[in-house]
């Protein structure tokens, strides 16, 4: 573009854009001998150079663009010659468009509607819309979009032709000399094919170099060695331009390019590019704010409360949950109970909400006086007051003070965002409902006969918790050992054979002390798996049978539905709906069943599909009602805890990658086993090493990062609780507690591991756990047990009722 001209400020440019330059150049090239006098343009003008670049005809057979065999590299064929050849061949065949020379003078007729460049060859789509072949190629090769640029009609094929006046259907097969399947392009003659091929190669962006490289690495190397320049890596990965249209930079220029862009305001070639945005936390740059946004959404945290109060504000991110927690503490009302701290995201807009939460979930923690106070509402702040304060807080939160915050401009187009904030919000809801549930079940447990005056307060010290935990872990190994030797499937499926799960890893050490057997040896693996599967299978059937009230015909149709899903006759979604209509039970119960069921599928895809379908179903049918009812505390708690806690989990880790299989399994495991969510054990397991500590700690962070994942529910909870326990008191205490455990809790019937197994009733194991009461997890297990066992149902119901009463009373008093 040096050839001419005036800097093109938009205001000044009324003359048609195709003015002298692009037009001439383009036309010249290829038809006229290419790079003649004008060829020395500065290298900014990459576009027009590209077409003429390169020498030998690549030919699609070589695998398009740039995959050419090595000999390509030594072919610094004289471009002039090459172009002459092409031109000559075209003229010879009479293929040169007669009006090509007039393109500049007759802008409208030969300028592409899309790119405003002169049309060299036309691309004709079945809808008979015409663009230049370059635009068509951009759409098809770079944007991978086969839609017509004019009408968005998708078309498998377009025809590159010399003429734009012929209709698509008028082309006969014999007129097509070649076609490219990948692009969906048919070529009217070889010259167009050649041009297209040239365009798609890894051409060096340097305007005076016609080297075509073999691929990106080769090109990077080439520009470095031959031109002492670099390419922007982000651009080369993300920018949808032809290779030769990329820009070469010196290292300094590259830094500027990344930081502020290399726009040249006012120039004709301005790009509008303002640099690659950087994540202030990670110091990593992203191609555009869209990518940065995705990164932040996945890797960092946002405050859902601030977002809710002030949706329009600039988005604030916190580097991780710890940083977010600081903000929660400073600017909102976060529940300080360890249990809730572990759960994360238990934070409220206003003090009143926090108090309500404390009343509901941690009544035992508050002293009587505090309880009374909590129930009292300060009328001054009641109405608008609390609202205002909440606003104020929200506002201050948005003020951007504090460490570890970053503001990111939200991409204006927000299509795929189910933001983290929303997820977090749902998480909170789920946590809340889970809590209320927990409470209830817990209460129920208390009132039952076996549970001695077990009241360890929910906030129980970490030590207490640690003491409680070991039993769980112990029971497992023992159960497993038993399961191996005793084929009869107890209703509760024993721990699954460890394949890969982290839990497993943690597990062995644990199991080891009590029983060597527990550690699954490789050789035993197969049989164990088999055994386990059988056990799990029968557990599922049992559960289904119970839920169906032993109605054989319904049970049969249940089996029928499942097998048709297994065979792919019905989709996962349909299956969920079928089951829902078949089972007349509450959603959480059904959820438990479905999770166990999913666990039975060996086919990972089926399994995930089912879980996903269930989650979706639940999201639609379940999540909202509880939400509304959450404040009243009555509604959501009816279901067994297991389900709700799993929902929390799901919300937390909707996208977990590596941990997927593990987590899924764990979830199923937990529900199937009807024992306290297995996850806790692993964390608690690490008997004494400091190492173990760190590991247990790590999981929560990881989860956090990975964002709301569906699967990792248990791990999440487990890990967090474990971290707390490991933090304060260590293995030592635990060990001590360990032996004493049995005695401490008035041994429920069949407390010993073996005994328990015989009973097949998980209940005993549960008790200690429940008693500790610290973990919602443990409680939830109790709930699970109850429901899973037939007798359990009655119990659970009773307990629930009582719970409910309690709650009601609290409420009455409070208000």
């Amino acid at each position: 573009m040096s050839s001419g001209t005036d800097t093109l400020v938009p205001t000044q440019t009324q003359n048609p854009p195709d003015g002298p330059r692009g037009g001439y150049r383009r036309r010249n090239r290829g038809h006229r001998g290419g790079r003649g006098g004008r060829s020395s343009e500065n290298r900014v003008d990459n576009t027009s150079n590209g077409e003429s670049r390169g020498g030998r005809k690549g030919g699609w057979r070589n695998g398009r663009t740039g995959r050419q065999p090595p000999q390509e590299s030594d072919q610094l064929v004289d471009r002039q010659t090459q172009m002459d050849l092409i031109r000559a061949s075209m003229t010879a065949r009479g293929e040169v468009r007669p009006d090509a020379d007039d393109a500049a003078s007759d802008p409208d007729s030969s300028v592409c509607f899309i790119c405003a460049d002169p049309v060299r060859f036309s691309s004709i789509a079945p809808c008979n819309h015409v663009t230049c072949h370059i635009c068509a190629l951009r759409m098809r090769a770079l944007y991978k979009n086969k839609a017509c640029a004019h009408c968005r009609t998708e078309s498998e094929w377009v025809i590159f032709s010399n003429t734009d006046s012929k209709r698509f259907e008028e082309f006969e097969d014999e007129e097509i000399v070649n076609k490219n399947d990948a692009l969906g392009v048919k070529f009217e003659n070889e010259a167009i094919l050649d041009e297209t091929t040239l365009l798609l190669r890894y051409n060096c962006p340097d305007s005076n170099c016609d080297r075509a490289c073999l691929g990106w690495p080769d090109l990077h190397y080439h520009v470095k060695s031959a031109h002492n320049r670099v390419l922007c890596d982000l651009c080369s990965r993300n920018k949808k331009v032809f290779t030769h249209e990329h820009t070469l930079f010196t290292p300094q220029e590259l830094r500027k390019h990344e930081r502020v862009g290399d726009d040249q305001p006012g120039s004709e070639n301005q790009s509008g590019f303002k640099g690659h945005p950087e994540c202030d936390f990670c110091r990593q740059r992203f191609y555009s704010s869209d990518e940065l946004y995705v990164h932040c959404r996945e890797k960092h945290e946002r405050c859902f409360l601030c977002d809710r109060t002030n949706p329009g504000a600039q988005q604030q991110y916190y580097v991780n949950y710890d940083s977010l927690a600081v903000h929660f503490r400073d600017d909102h009302f976060m529940c300080g109970e360890q249990e809730c701290l572990d759960k994360k995201f238990v934070v409220f807009d206003s003090e009143m909400d926090l108090k309500a939460h404390q009343l509901e979930v941690h009544p035992s923690v508050l002293s009587k006086g505090a309880l009374r106070d909590a129930r009292r509402i300060d009328i001054r702040t009641l109405d608008h007051g609390s609202y205002l304060s909440q606003n104020r807080r929200g506002g201050s939160g948005g003020g951007g003070r504090g460490r570890g915050r970053m503001e990111v401009e939200e991409p204006t187009r927000t299509e795929q965002q189910m933001s983290r904030a929303e997820l977090a919000y749902h998480r909170t809801l789920a946590v809340q409902s889970a809590q209320s549930t927990t409470m209830r079940t817990f209460g129920g447990q208390l009132t039952e006969p076996p549970p001695p005056p077990p009241v360890i307060r929910p906030s129980a010290q970490a030590t207490a918790r640690a003491a409680v935990q070991p039993p769980v872990s112990i029971t497992r190994p023992s159960a497993q050992a038993v399961g191996m030797s005793v084929p009869t499937p107890p209703p509760r499926p024993p721990p699954r054979p460890a394949d890969t799960s982290p839990a497993e890893v943690a597990f062995p050490p644990l199991a080891a002390p009590p029983r060597t057997q527990a550690e699954p040896s490789p050789s035993m693996n197969g049989s164990i798996t088999e055994d386990n599967r059988r056990i799990r299978h029968s557990a599922v059937i049992d559960r289904a049978n119970t839920m169906l009230r032993y109605n054989q015909s319904k049970l049969d149709s249940f089996k029928g539905h499942v097998s048709s899903y297994r065979q792919g006759k019905v989709s996962a979604r349909q299956l969920v709906e079928l089951l829902w209509s078949l089972f007349d039970v509450k959603a959480p119960d059904l959820g438990k069943l479905i999770k166990e069921l999913a666990d039975l599928f060996e086919d990972e895809e089926r399994k995930q599909g089912l879980l996903k379908a269930w989650n979706n179903w639940k999201a639609i049918n379940e999540d909202y009602p509880p939400f509304a009812g959450a404040s009243s505390s009555s509604a959501s708690s009816s279901g067994p805890t297991q389900a709700s806690s799993s929902r929390v989990l799901k919300l937390k880790s909707s996208t977990s990658h590596s941990a997927r299989s593990t987590t899924a399994r764990q979830g199923a495991w937990g529900s199937a086993a009807a024992t306290p969510p297995p996850p806790p054990p692993p964390p608690s397991l690490p008997p004494s090493q400091s190492q173990s500590q760190t590991t247990s700690r790590a999981p929560p962070l990881h989860m956090n990062r990975s964002g709301p994942g569906a699967h990792a529910p248990t791990p999440w909870v487990a890990s967090s609780s474990s971290s707390s326990s490991s933090n304060s008191t260590l293995p030592v205490t635990r060990r001590e507690d360990f032996p004493s455990l049995p005695t401490k809790p008035p041994p429920p019937p069949g407390w010993g591991p073996i005994k328990r197994r015989e009973h097949g009733a998980p209940a005993p194991a549960v008790d200690p756990w429940g008693r500790s009461g610290s973990g919602s997890v443990g409680v939830s297990d109790v709930g699970g047990n109850l429901t899973s066992g037939d007798p359990g149902n009655g119990n659970g119901g009773g307990g629930r009722k009582k719970k409910g009463k309690q709650k009601e009373m609290l409420f009455r008093v409070g208000l």
């Binding site: 003359n15 854009p17 899309i114 819309h129 249209e245 004709e268 301005q270 509008g272 939200e410």
Partner: protein, 152 residues
């Protein structure tokens, strides 16, 4: 890239040469990827009398990606976000509906058309859309008040 610049230049020229009714455009400094737009409220509409400033931002890969249109002037409208961004994202501006053949002129005219007739079915502000559908009088009252307050 030059391609975007070329097309933008051309469109700018076309619009300048033949300005649409009620719409004025102005480039920002020397940046051809951002245009200041002024749209006057159509006479027949509730926004009559108001002048709305808009910012049109063109992506670097225009026209293969759609432009971004945002109201700088606060406006009470179901299709414009009621925040400091004032973004308008509907119909042809959505990247899944955008056609490279669509011109900025059409975008601007669509925007003005929305002032004439909001599209509550495709709203970004659902509460305003609800009001528009169910309580037109209240909607118009607020909208007019906002015009008076912000768009004069």
């Amino acid at each position: 890239m030059a391609q975007a610049a070329k097309r933008i230049t051309r469109e700018y020229g076309e619009i300048e040469a033949n300005p649409p009714q009620g719409i004025t455009i102005q480039s920002i400094d020397e940046d051809m990827f951002k245009w200041n737009i002024e749209v006057t409220g159509p006479k027949e509409s509730i926004y009559a009398g108001g002048t709305f400033k808009l910012l049109l931002t063109l992506p670097t890969n225009y026209p293969f990606k759609p432009p971004i249109l945002s109201f700088q002037t606060k406006i009470y409208h179901p299709n414009v976000t009621n925040d400091d961004k004032g973004s308008m994202c509907l119909g042809i501006l959505r990247s899944d509906q955008w056609k490279p053949s669509c011109k900025i002129l059409a975008v601007l005219e669509m925007a003005r058309g929305l002032l004439m007739e909001p599209n509550p079915e495709d709203a970004v502000e659902t509460s305003i859309a609800e009001q528009y559908k169910n309580d037109r009088a209240a909607f118009e009252k607020t909208a007019k008040a906002w015009v008076k307050q912000y768009a004069k």
